[in-house]
């Protein structure tokens, strides 16, 4: 039990001693990235293969450990071989490769350069074998990242409290409990300039201050871990990779506002996150870092995980509270804000996972340090989940003010297959898109707002030239329309009316007047909806209309989709002059709508064609076009 500050110090020293001992005893350590992304890619088999191979070869002085998401999801499964002199991060490994790594690298001392992310794996095939091994931190994907919220992710074993404490864990909680008043904590967080990482971007310190100023009594602190944006997985990775950072951040917040009870509202679709979080909570309780009289002070704090059933709207704070209360998850009117009247009518602070993960570092290293990172009004870093048409799919934590170009091209490695960048969607279905002309805009809350989008929780979806922006808007609206809670008419009916219109447009049944109606509806829904979901639901449509108006016009006026996505608006066509009459197209056609023979050029029956594109892909002579 850690009952006092002294106990905590002692515990840390023991941990450090233990890892020193481990380093002295063992020649190597192998870390396997076992977040959901890694496990989905086969990390479990890799982990078992490594252990098995070591056993078979009788190697005993190697530690194998799991860690959270290392961040470079595109390269999963990832395993890092840590030797005293250097670290090698192997990507795209499988059980077979894992055994070979043990044999060659561990037993044989031979680095397999072409599989190493910090070696040749990212290079063109022909250069891979000759590549030099560089520091992992010098790999472009990692090089410009600044890791605060993710500092332990991919480094420590998320299921070990000791490893967390060894890396200064719970020092900040100890500091606030013994050296700071709640007001001091709030002042420090305010001074740091930390703004909510869930999307709203409201000053965390100020929010805490509201709740702090409410008369003493029952108060609650809630962590919003209901990450629901398609393509966003920042929060999941933090919970899977460093759950104690969230527990510690919440405890500090609870102390600041005077809460003794907290809830983490996490979606049930994140079983690993839930498992590790529950483990972290029970470890902290066992050690006395949660519960009654923490570290011998008057402060008591209990934490509980509540599972969400996967409704997007439950990420909205008031809907989330309703859901915790056991009511149907739908938003309530604000004001009163939760800081005044939240869970069961009591003052409640709701912050996002990433926000909480920033708290302990701010307390430990000070608001000045935090404030030195980032741009003028947006301090610190932001974790983005890179997804879509981008090479290095993964998590990137960047200082605020980094440009989109750096994120996409330096960290993200650019667009696959040399395609042209078309736009980036931030803020998920509530956000908007940023076209190529703004690639050099520094990313922060205010700049994104000026571009008509939002920071959001950190989803960053990259679109290339072959993305249809009308279809993209339709996709997001389809999502929000489906996820609307149905409480207020603008969102419930409005998004449906808009979606119907977009469906007609992509089917080639749109009319020119529809575009103005669509815009009008979008503006009205934004203004009149009850909650943030409805107020932002039209954003993807409005922002694509703002930057890609001509694509909309083409869809309704010319019945054309330049990206070749809207199947009703193009046909596959065999150029008779180029057709070599090989018949491969007819063979692959799943609906048998291509006819011809050795004598006559092949022809597609447009009535029957389902536009799957198989013929075009199969044609060895590029005789088939889309138009």
């Amino acid at each position: 039990m850690i009952r006092t500050l002294e106990d905590l110090r002692e515990f840390k020293i023991q941990q450090e001693e233990r890892s020193r001992q481990e380093k002295a005893d063992k020649q190597a350590k192998i870390l396997v990235g076992m977040g959901t992304c890694g496990i989905a890619a086969g990390a479990q088999e890799v982990y078992e293969a490594i252990c098995d191979e070591l056993r078979q070869q009788g190697i005993e002085d190697v530690v194998v450990a799991q860690t959270g998401c290392i961040g470079f999801c595109a390269q999963e499964p990832l395993a890092e071989v840590i030797l005293p002199d250097r670290q090698v991060l192997y990507g795209h490994i499988d059980a077979e490769k894992a055994r070979k790594i043990v044999t060659d690298h561990i037993a044989g001392g031979q680095v397999i350069t072409e599989w190493a992310v910090n070696g040749g794996s990212l290079l063109p095939k022909e250069q891979q074998a000759e590549a030099e091994i560089v520091n992992v931190g010098d790999v472009p994907f990692f090089k410009t990242q600044v890791r605060i919220a993710l500092k332990n992710c991919g480094v420590i074993n998320p299921e070990s409290l000791g490893e967390y404490i060894a890396r200064d864990g719970y020092q900040s909680l100890a500091k606030v409990l013994t050296e700071m008043t709640p007001a001091d904590v709030i002042e420090e967080v305010k001074k740091s300039g930390l703004r909510g990482r869930g999307g709203g971007g409201f000053s965390t310190g100020m929010k805490w201050e509201f709740a702090h100023k409410q008369p003493p009594g029952q108060k609650y602190i809630v962590c919003n871990a209901d990450e629901g944006d398609p393509g966003a997985f920042m929060d999941r990775s933090i919970l899977e990779g460093d759950p104690h950072s969230v527990v510690e951040g919440m405890a500090i917040g609870a102390y600041a506002i005077g809460a003794n009870k907290g809830y983490v509202y996490c979606r049930a679709e994140y079983p690993i996150a839930v498992k590790r979080l529950n483990l972290a909570i029970s470890q902290a309780k066992e050690q006395g870092l949660l519960g009654e009289n923490i570290l011998g002070t008057d402060f008591s704090f209990d934490l509980e995980v509540r599972l969400g059933a996967g409704a997007f709207v439950c990420g909205e704070e008031t809907a989330l509270l309703a859901s915790i209360e056991g009511e149907r998850g739908e938003p309530r009117l604000r004001p009163p804000y939760p800081a005044v009247s939240g869970l069961w009518g009591k003052p409640t602070i709701i912050n996002n996972v990433e926000t909480f993960a920033n708290i302990a570092p701010i307390i430990r290293r000070g608001s000045d340090w935090f404030g030195s990172i980032g741009s003028e009004n947006s301090k610190g870093t932001k974790v983005f989940a890179l997804a879509g048409e981008i090479n290095n799919i993964g998590l990137a934590e960047i200082p605020m003010g980094t440009t989109l170009r750096e994120v996409i091209f330096d960290i993200g490695g650019g667009i696959p297959e040399g395609k042209q960048f078309k736009g980036a969607q931030t803020g998920g279905p509530s956000g908007g898109c940023i076209p190529a002309e703004f690639l050099d805009t520094p990313i922060d809350y205010d700049n994104l707002a000026k571009l008509g989008t939002i920071m959001g929780s950190g989803g960053l979806i990259i679109m290339a030239e072959d993305t249809c922006m009308v279809d993209l808007a339709r996709f997001f609206l389809d999502f929000t329309q489906e996820e609307s809670c149905g409480k207020c008419p603008p969102c419930r009916v409005g998004t449906t009316v808009m979606l119907d219109m977009l469906n007609r447009i992509v089917e080639g049944k749109g009319e020119v007047e529809d575009l103005e109606k669509l815009k009008e509806l979008g503006e009205n829904i934004k203004a009149a909806s009850l909650c943030g979901l409805g107020q932002t639901a039209p954003n993807p449509v409005l922002s694509t209309m703002r930057y890609f108006w001509e694509e909309y016009e083409e869809h309704v006026r010319d019945k054309k989709c330049r990206a070749g996505v809207c199947t009703a608006l193009f046909q596959y066509y065999i150029i008779p002059e180029k057709c070599k009459r090989c018949g491969i197209c007819a063979k692959v056609c799943p609906v048998k709508c291509i006819s011809g023979d050795r004598q006559t050029p092949y022809v597609i029956d447009q009535e029957l064609c389902i536009k799957c594109g198989a013929c075009m892909e199969a044609c060895p002579f590029d005789s088939i076009i889309k138009q």
Binding site: P489, R492, A528
Partner: protein, 348 residues
């Protein structure tokens, strides 16, 4: 007290007064759909917006509390357009069936469509295939006419606290109903009818209301004649017949009624009602004139009083009739007959 200005009119209101309540005080009517007295405001229908000087957006008046010095505008172009948009959205997802709908004449959606100048809806959402539930004995439920103001759900859960109605589905498929798509007859519904009373459209309508339109009705405020809670209610009368009951906002019922108060009014014009005095002749009760009957009563009472004294006569008054009837009864027994043997069923 707070000073506020509504459309240029200055007034003082108590702390905690909502803008909507303040508007009522000065007789400014604000359109509302989800709002209902005694239900916690939830601001979901978005109809009741007004402009507050200095505020960024329009405010829902039902849930916004007055602040000192607030300057409120209840109608301008922006407000009109906003409200019109709401009505337009609701109409886009409504079975517009006003000719045969029993709510025609009192339907709020109909009224607001008129008020905000919508003749022909510009948008139409594909109607869903909801089940019409006519299994309750007193009322029918047609989800196609529901505008999801949720008054019914709130009155059922927060005021009747019977937890029968709830919401299921999401987005455009959100629907009021019972858990697991139960029908009323299979549910725990107690037929209090409070959901029907608060429905602003024809989605929840009494079966009886098929036969009248609101403009044909006269309303009489009275006190329920069943249990002793003393609920206030309006009897709806068409052509001299009670055809329905609406709850009123009485001190003890605050807008609620139970199944008896709401629906058990058919005894009033029941054919079995007594219409003429009856006198037993030859062992049978036979119709008689009032004169005949009253004289018969008086003669017999006086005869027995003379023969055996007034205490040979006893009277049981009724806990069902009015105070005035009871007072008259005891005055008759004590004053005219001369006995204190008067009782009522207080004990039974």
């Amino acid at each position: 007290m707070l000073n506020v200005t509504i459309d240029g009119q200055k007034l003082q209101v108590k702390e905690g007064t909502t803008i909507l309540e303040a508007c009522e005080l000065v007789g400014v009517e604000i359109p509302t759909l989800c709002h209902l007295k005694h239900l916690a405001p939830e601001g979901s229908c978005r109809m009741c917006v007004v402009e507050v000087e200095g505020a960024r957006d329009l405010k829902v008046s039902c849930a916004t509390v007055c602040g000192e010095g607030m300057n409120i505008t209840t109608m301008n172009e922006k407000i009109h357009a906003w409200r019109r948009f709401i009505v337009e959205m609701l109409l886009a997802d409504h079975n517009i069936d006003c000719f045969s709908c029993s709510d025609t004449g009192k339907c709020k959606l109909y009224q607001y469509a008129l008020d905000y100048g919508i003749r022909e809806p510009r948008f139409k959402v594909q109607p869903r295939d909801w089940q019409i539930d006519d299994t309750n004995r007193f009322f029918d439920y047609d989800p196609h006419k529901c505008i999801l103001c949720r008054r019914c759900v709130r009155v059922c859960n927060d005021r009747q606290v019977n937890h029968t109605l709830n919401l299921s589905g999401r987005g455009i498929d959100t629907v009021v109903g019972m858990p697991f798509n139960e029908l009323f007859i299979d549910s725990n519904c107690v037929s209090c009818g409070n959901c029907v009373s608060v429905c602003p459209t024809g989605a929840l309508a009494t079966k009886a209301s098929k036969n009248y339109r609101s403009w044909e009705l006269a309303k009489t405020r009275t006190t329920c004649s069943y249990c002793a809670v003393g609920c206030q209610m309006d009897l709806l009368v068409k052509k001299g017949k009670v055809v329905g009951v609406e709850p009123a906002d009485g001190h003890s019922n605050k807008g609620l009624l139970c199944v008896k108060g709401k629906f058990a009014y058919k005894f009033i014009d029941h054919p079995d009602r007594l219409t003429t005095p009856l006198i037993r002749k030859d062992g049978e009760l036979q119709p008689a004139s009032w004169d005949e009957a009253l004289d018969y009563v008086v003669d017999n009472l006086q005869k027995i009083k003379t023969e055996s004294g007034p205490d040979a006569i006893a009277g049981f008054s009724s806990s069902r009739t009015t105070n005035e009837d009871n007072y008259t009864f005891m005055k008759m027994m004590r004053g005219a007959i001369g006995t204190n043997s008067v009782d009522n069923c207080a004990r039974v």
